[in-house]
Amino acid sequence: MAWRYLKQVEGFWVVFRQMFKPRVTTPYPKVKRVKPQRFHGRHVLNRYPNGMEKCIGCELCAGVCPARCIYVRGKDNPVDEPVSPGERYGFIYEINMLRCIFCAMCVEACPTEAITMTQLFEMSVQGREDAIYTRSELLMSPDGVVPHPQPQSKFNDLGELTLADGWMRATAAAGRAEYQGIRHWTPTAGAGHRPPEQGQAADGVPETEEESEG
């Protein structure tokens, strides 16, 4: 009969052995894992270095979104105080984060790189309505600071909001011929600066990006 108890001790042995192996989990939230460079976190609406909004309210992101969670409406830019370059700007911009599947199709569709994703993923909310991010949550301020709906939460690493998943373009966003075939990302006022990934042409970055660093 004794061999029966031996089997149970074997179980303890598995645990005992494990105690001396290196740990693979991270004690989140005290420690956070380094995320992959193209992690799809919450969205941000970018600005140009001169402070203009990049979004032109074209609704392409809303059209492509498989979860149908984006609601955009465009409007004529005020003549004296244009919000974005050109005729049209996005005067309503909402994303329902409860429905978003973080596929980044919106980022890919955007013709102006107005919408990009950051590394921040902590987005707990107290009610369904808070999960609908509007312009006031999504749009960065002219100095590049991205607002967060729960800034005091200790889980947040607001630094993650400045890491944009902007490496999407196969050709130059500005459509200029000299950048044909060169991969790069365009400057944003705050988020979006990262060292080139492996295999990415660092020298393909246009000069304007330098100006925006400050």
Partner: protein
């Protein structure tokens, strides 16, 4: 396929496929019918080809070898061999697109056309992947308004001339044209002359790029977030097919749908942009009841109780004949039927009318003998238009008549008291003083003097006679006499017209003292007995009052209560002041409406009704064509369909009209109304689709067939007579509650001939006082030499009324 060609057809080979196509067709059209789409920008199936854009190049084999040619300018020939997908064609298409895009801006994300743009679509399907052109593009000032409704972005224009050709060929107001040359070529208006056409919106729809956009739709939505439903335009009785498009529960635009029978793809601007009133914040959304200071919001229960008990106490005290109903011509057939049934069976009154004192003999409108169709215009040799200025009242019918007179070569005779939109293309124009129409008709019938040539033209059949009320000061007799004259022509069909959108449907549903549902006569005892069998209630005899009679009855105290269904007699009656005073004396007014109006301000109870795009049903156009209207939107909060409101009032009065849904009413109509047998929703949704059903169908019977009678009257001889007629943009609700159209309503003015002006000492633009049968007004005088001396013209419903009497006086003010 057999080798024998069917007569009228020729055999051609497209991309190796042999097919038979109608002889005389353009290659591009024949190929499309046979299932081969050839890309195009400038060619439009409803306009003449020009061969400007070169997008439709195909290879045609000929005796001198295979050559590239534009398929939009080439007619099919027997034995023609065509290649649309050869390498040469592909190279040509890529070249054309690359060149078209040299100067085309990268505007797609902000362009209203983006997503439904032929240039985008065809570039993706037929264009080169890349362009060799890196040079700076041509620049123009971004959109310039060329009218109050249309914006032009010249950078995007690809110079296809669809817009300029439309305005010249189709609408006949060539106010836009190409200027400059080379890459500077652009579409422009003439200096100081805006593109003020009643049809300007069509250019926006047919522009193959986003160069022409509509102010009402600018940046409101993108094509992929629009929901669409096919429906029928609610603005006049032509019944144009439209696609209603909405987003986020707001109607955002109407687009014309191309059907042969009515609009051929076109819409007038009132139809196209007249949807904005539906989104108006002034829409009624709760019932209201008269309180101490004006109308107060009330609960549905209180309002329904008040309406029912008010009606019942008047019926108890004075009998059902003290109640009358006006309206029903603005909604669906189902609503009109419910209205008629409510009044006749639940209330028990025969005083009901859908026309507001500005119509014709109801039997003439509903069931004229030898009734024509709009489509008859296509084969007509001659046309007589003696009635309203079609351009102002039935604009798309104007386009159809214009097409017949220009494109198809029909001889057109126009008789009207002053210049009409059709005069430019008319072979004969006859003018007369209001009141003296009978005299002119007699001369025309006898072929006397200058009318002789017109009569000769009209004797060449087939002839279409369009008749209606030319002016509101004239009685309905003249139009009827014209219809009678038309019937006597050798080979003529008659098309009596009235403007209000579903007035034909309402009359067919029996909203008239003389008519029962399905074009039966109310004086016919047999028809009444059958109907009361269906309804289980007595049907009052045909001695009821029409709107003018109801107003008289109110004045005399014989009528004490009025039920209004979407009608505003205090504004729309030819003598608004008189109607207004009469309504003010009513004991009880129950109004069902979408908006507060002058008439509802006098009401005891006002119910908020759902309107167009918010209710489903059918409507009937001026040729008797039944078409579907669709529901796409929920409408404002507390509003409900009119039939449902009437049913609730009926229930509280101890009756019922059996209206549990619009579909149920439609089934009942099909059963009860003889002429509507077979016109079911099912048939409308499936078999007949876009063209609707002309009632009565071959299997239905139409109990009455009205033969117009000529009741000659003595010409009126007065010093100065008034021509009072409607204009397209007036003070009506649908215009005034929409942002785009409201600003287009003209300033009221009185028009006078220079001769009379000279006699009365009036200068062009000076202030005058016009006094008529009921009131007088101070106005600006304008010269109009198209009037007959002794006549003055005042547009109706622009805020000025002097009554509807023929005789007026005019004096110059210092």
């Amino acid at each position: 396929m057999s080798d024998e060609a069917t007569p009228g057809m020729v055999k051609i080979t497209i991309d190796g496929r042999e097919m038979q196509v109608p002889a005389g067709d353009l290659l591009i059209a024949a190929a499309e019918k046979a299932g081969t789409y050839i890309p195009r920008f400038c060619w439009h199936s409803r306009m003449k080809p020009v061969g400007l854009c070169r997008m439709c190049l195909v290879e045609v084999e000929g005796p001198r070898g295979t050559m590239l040619t534009t398929s939009c300018t080439m007619q099919v020939n027997d034995g023609m061999v065509v290649h649309t997908e050869s390498d040469v064609v592909k190279k040509a298409q890529e070249g054309v697109l690359e060149f078209l895009l040299i100067n085309h801006p990268l505007d797609c994300p902000v362009c209203d056309k983006g997503g439904e743009c032929p240039l985008q679509d065809q570039t993706v399907s037929f264009g080169p992947g890349e362009s060799r052109f890196v040079e700076e593009k041509r620049h123009f000032e971004k959109p310039i308004p060329i009218s109050d409704l249309v914006l032009l972005d010249r950078e995007r224009c690809i110079l296809c001339a669809r817009c300029t050709r439309f305005s010249e060929e189709i609408s006949g107001d060539p106010l836009i044209e190409f200027v400059e040359r080379g890459s500077g070529t652009q579409v422009l208006t003439f200096p100081d002359e805006p593109f003020a056409s009643y049809f300007s919106g069509n250019t926006v729809q047919i522009c193959p790029v986003g160069a022409l956009t509509a102010t009402a739709y600018r940046f409101r939505a993108r094509p992929w977030d629009l929901q669409a439903a096919e429906s029928t335009c609610p603005h006049c009785s032509v019944g144009c097919r439209i696609s209603v498009q909405s987003s986020q529960n707001q109607v955002l635009r109407f687009q014309g749908v191309d059907v042969d029978s009515t609009n051929q793809g076109w819409l007038c601007d009132k139809g196209r942009f007249g949807f904005e009133y539906l989104n108006s914040p002034d829409r009624l959304s709760t019932p209201k009841m008269a309180g101490d200071d004006g109308l107060q919001e009330a609960s549905w229960i209180d309002a329904l109780d008040a309406a029912a008990s008010g009606l019942m106490s008047i019926i108890d005290e004075h009998g059902p004949g003290a109640v009358a109903g006006i309206g029903g011509a603005r909604g669906t057939n189902e609503e009109a039927y419910a209205f008629g049934k409510f009044l006749r069976s639940v209330v028990g009154t025969g005083h009901l009318d859908a026309q507001i004192g500005d119509g014709l003999e109801p039997r003439l409108l509903a069931a004229p003998a030898d009734r024509g169709l709009i489509g008859d215009l296509e084969k007509a040799s001659s046309i007589l238009v003696w009635g309203p200025d079609l351009k102002e009242e039935l604009p798309v019918l104007y386009l159809r008549v214009r097409r017949a007179a220009t494109e198809l070569g029909a001889k057109l005779v126009v008789a009207h008291p002053r210049r009409t939109g059709l005069d430019d293309v008319a072979t004969h124009t006859l003018r007369y003083r209001p009141g003296a129409g009978q005299d002119l008709l007699r001369r025309l019938a006898a072929g006397e003097g200058d009318a002789g040539a017109a009569l000769a033209a009209l004797k060449e059949g087939p002839t279409v006679v369009i008749t209606g009320l030319a002016g509101l000061t004239e009685g309905p007799d003249l139009a009827e006499a014209v219809a009678a004259f038309g019937r006597d022509l050798p080979d003529a069909t008659v098309l009596p017209v009235a403007r209000r959108s579903n007035v034909f449907g309402a009359l067919d549903m029996g909203v008239s003292p003389a008519l029962l549902p399905g074009r039966a006569s109310a004086v016919d005892d047999g028809a009444r007995a059958t109907l009361s069998g269906h309804w289980g209630a007595d049907v009052p005899d045909g001695s009821g009052r029409d709107t003018a009679g109801i107003i008289e009855g109110l004045e005399a105290g014989a009528i004490r209560a009025v039920v209004l269904l979407g009608a505003d007699p205090a504004v729309d009656f030819p003598d608004p002041a008189r109607a207004s005073a009469a309504l003010a004396g009513a004991e009880l007014i129950v109004a069902i409406d979408m908006f507060e109006s002058v008439s509802t301000s006098m009401a005891t109870v006002v119910f908020p009704a759902l309107g167009f795009t918010e209710t489903e049903g059918t409507v009937t156009n001026l040729e008797g064509r039944v078409q579907k209207v669709s529901r796409l939107l929920p409408g404002p909060g507390g509003a409900r369909p009119s039939w449902e409101i009437l049913e609730d009032v009926a229930t509280r009065m101890g009756g019922s009209i059996g209206a549990t849904s619009a579909g149920v009413i439609a089934t009942e109509i099909e059963k009860v109304a003889p002429a509507y047998a077979g016109a079911t929703w099912d048939a409308l949704n499936t078999a007949f689709g876009r063209d609707g059903i002309v009632v009565p169908t071959a299997d239905a019977t139409q109990p009455i067939e009205y033969v117009p009678v000529d009741r000659p009257s003595a010409p009126v001889q007065r010093d100065l007579v008034l021509h009072l007629a409607r204009v397209l943009y007036d003070g009506g609700t649908t215009v005034q509650r929409g942002l785009s159209l409201a600003k287009l309503a003209a300033e009221p003015a009185v028009y006078i001939t220079p001769q009379d002006a000279h006699r009365l000492g009036v200068a062009d633009g000076s202030a005058v006082r016009l006094s008529g049968g009921n009131g007088s007004a101070e106005l600006t005088a304008r010269f109009d030499d198209s009037l007959t001396p002794g006549a003055v013209y005042l547009p109706f419903n622009l805020g000025i009324s002097v009554g509807s009497g023929l005789e007026v006086e005019l004096e110059a003010l210092a």
